[in-house]
Symmetry: C2
């Protein structure tokens, strides 16, 4: 989702598939496999082999004709392209049920992300422990995020507060927001937003049911 002007010439839709490839490759590696092909990967993912080859070709020739792709090598390359060969510090806003689930989720650390601070506006929650973090009050938000130079955040607050939180985050320097609140955010150019709204996903499927 290039928020506005796209600086590079690689389609965003291609970028969107790379994390899926990376996830599948990581799984193959865990299963002990060393080499795969665009065909095998495509079968697993329900994507055509041509599309996978074309997508990867945007970033260079990662494969070997006749052989396929060295899984460990391709994983490294994709991590580099997606810039997750480093670890990104992430701020979490909202320490309700959802915030707790997100804070306790084990799946971030080995895929490039680490929650480093949690904020909430509820006086009862401030100071409490969540995961391994102490919940900080809202008005620490800017100082903490600026100080730690945090660029990535997740919003897990009620819909009516989400835009206000987003504005504060952006003001503090955040450039990528994963929004769990069921509302579309308005953000300036250069800020990226992704949405997770389970109902949107469900509604997209019921269309096809009878």
């Amino acid at each position: 989702m290039p928020s506005n002007i796209v600086s590079s010439n690689i389609p965003d839709i291609v970028i969107g598939r790379l994390p899926i490839y990376l996830r599948a490759l990581t799984r193959l590696a865990q299963e002990g496999q060393d080499v795969t092909s665009s065909h095998e990967l495509g079968q697993r993912l329900g994507i055509s082999s041509a599309q996978i080859r074309k997508d990867l070709s945007h970033f260079g020739g990662f494969g070997k004709q006749g052989t396929g792709y060295q899984i460990a090598y391709l994983i490294e390359q994709l991590k580099q392209v997606l810039k997750v060969n480093r670890e990104w510090d992430v701020a979490l806003v909202g320490a309700g049920d959802l915030g707790h689930a997100v804070a306790n989720y084990r799946g971030f650390s080995d895929r490039g992300f680490r929650i480093v601070c949690v904020f909430d506006s509820d006086a009862d929650k401030i100071g409490r422990q969540i995961g391994q973090h102490v919940i900080e009050p809202f008005d620490h938000l800017k100082a903490t995020i600026t100080e730690r130079n945090i660029r990535v955040a997740m919003i897990a607050v009620p819909a009516q507060n989400a835009q206000g939180v987003a504005d504060k985050l952006i003001d503090a320097g955040v450039r990528a927001i994963l929004n769990y609140a069921p509302i579309s955010l308005n953000v300036p150019s250069g800020v990226y937003v992704q949405y997770i709204d389970p109902v949107v996903h469900l509604q997209r499927m019921t269309y096809y049911l009878d």
Copy 2:
């Protein structure tokens, strides 16, 4: 995501935007507005007005020239198209942190979905209360889902169990799966899957950061 053959001729990408429109319209209605235009809606969502008009035109002429769209009417029409003018019973599999957050989430009921049963394999959890449901053991899954004629399910179990759970759900008659586990599922034609993997969303954004 038409799992295989698409019976109708309306692009899936259009279907995917309808829930977004519906969400924005519901919000406008809550704010007390009666009428909107493709332009206003597009501004809010960062989508061109032409696209909104074209998308809606697949299902009939919902608007009035010179005036725009009657919000309440358009909401009703979209609900009907997406088949959420009824309430779908949903099964939830997995009662860990994530399962708890999902089970306690307030946002399903007024948007067409109602969690009616929760399953887990952990003997310690079975019989416990979650939201307003008693956690049932895995081997009740088929009986309960068949009996209640449930067509929609959410998977919130660890990645290594997700495919097995999906297979059981499908065998029991489920046709739409919202998968929170970070793994691509293999499902037969006629079964629809949507994925929620926060890391995939985050990785899609870090590409654009420096």
